[in-house]
Symmetry: C2
Subunit: 241 residues, 2 copies
């Protein structure tokens, strides 16, 4: 499984993904699930992926191919799309088409494949937008009322987001919130694993303004995780009922 | 959906269930999901249920019938079983049999039903035991390494349990832990709802030593929920990364 989360805030967008994939229970591997497409200052698109690796890899590969070879018939480049809505549509259509192809191949084995994606982006002059794309290619969008979207193992890490993330949360607090949300997920679910990929896209920069890979032995992350455990335990002790 | 949790501690057992059921998305009702069978001082059994209401109600009704009418052929009373393991087996077999019956009826509608249960109990002279019974009737048991079991929407409320519940956690702290675990679930998932049923079974008492229905407007629960939100936000603010 996977856990990816994206926040859409007034100050910018914050994105975090884990890297664990598994085929069956014991075939564990590390794969990047965050993909960045940039024309710095003009356009930035960050895609987070969850689901069958063969579906997500092929989808990203086709998106790249359309960017690199716009001359191919039917190629629709997300770097040339007029709006972020069009970007979401292209990614949704590509994902749905890849999923159908692979599902068809898997039919023989009576297995079904699926994948979903979070797409964050902004083009110069446009607004920041954050989408969750379903396996069928349709999508929903983050709004002021619901400023975050999650894919994969989203339940463990939702309570902290529900409590602290608001549209006017600053980027530093937002970074902390997604890392703590991931920390809760990592502790409670083995199918989500380090290292983590974090990206910050400040408003109107139209480029990734902060990027970080956080390794399993990262001392800052470990310190944060311990401080959070202590804060929870202390808070727990103080509560009377 | 549902959220039920049971803790097996050195000091006793703590059990909590919500009461929300839904048929479809909009047909919401309140049903008790905690059932107590007691011969005070001799034997106590508490059952928590999750899943299709028709399955869980019929299972509980059949268990009661076997207790009230042990003369019926094949009746196996959980109040007469020699050990808690036998109790778990009787409940597992009853659940599996009811589920099969109803599943068979539902086949025509191409719908499948399912249910699971948590069973906590102790008989005089025996140990406290806590089981999770699967829809197929097989079961697992809580141990020192894993002193809690959950059914239903278990993910939202797991991080807090993972962090604070240990076998030597006291009953008051355990009560607080399950209520906070439920609070996180209530906040993040609409399909789990108040009122709540809480039961405490102190070690070797062989009866329910504390029982409480917590209504939606309960001032103590609301105070606890707010205090926990504040503790989380304060802890969050203090953490540096």
């Amino acid at each position: 499984m996977t856990y990816c989360v994206g926040l859409l805030l007034k100050a910018g967008m914050v994105l975090l993904s884990d890297t664990r994939t598994n085929a069956g229970l014991d075939n564990i591997a590390t794969y990047r699930k965050m993909f960045t497409f940039e024309d710095p200052g003009e356009r930035v698109i960050v895609i987070l992926t969850a689901g069958s690796l063969s579906v997500t890899q092929t989808t990203i590969a086709r998106l790249r191919e359309s960017i690199d070879h716009p001359e191919i018939e039917g190629a629709q480049s997300i770097m040339a799309a007029q709006t972020m809505l069009e970007v979401a549509e292209i990614i949704g259509n590509t994902l749905a088409s890849v999923r159908e192809d692979i599902d068809h191949k898997m039919n023989a084995a009576k297995v079904s494949v699926s994948a979903s994606m979070i797409v964050a982006g902004q083009r110069k002059g446009g607004a920041m937008r954050l989408f969750l794309i379903y396996p069928e290619g349709n999508f929903i969008e983050a709004t002021e009322d619901t400023p975050f979207l999650q894919i994969g193992e989203h339940k463990y890490g939702k309570p902290i987001l529900d409590r602290v993330v608001r549209p006017d949360t600053g980027l530093e607090d937002a970074r902390k919130a997604v890392l703590l949300s991931m920390d809760s997920t990592l502790r409670s679910n083995l199918s989500v694993g380090m290292p983590l990929d974090l990206a910050i896209v400040a408003k109107d920069a139209c480029r990734v303004t902060g990027v970080q890979r956080i390794e399993a032995n990262d001392p800052d992350f470990r310190k944060m995780s311990e401080a959070w455990s202590n804060a929870l335990r202390e808070g727990f002790q103080k509560i009377e009922i």
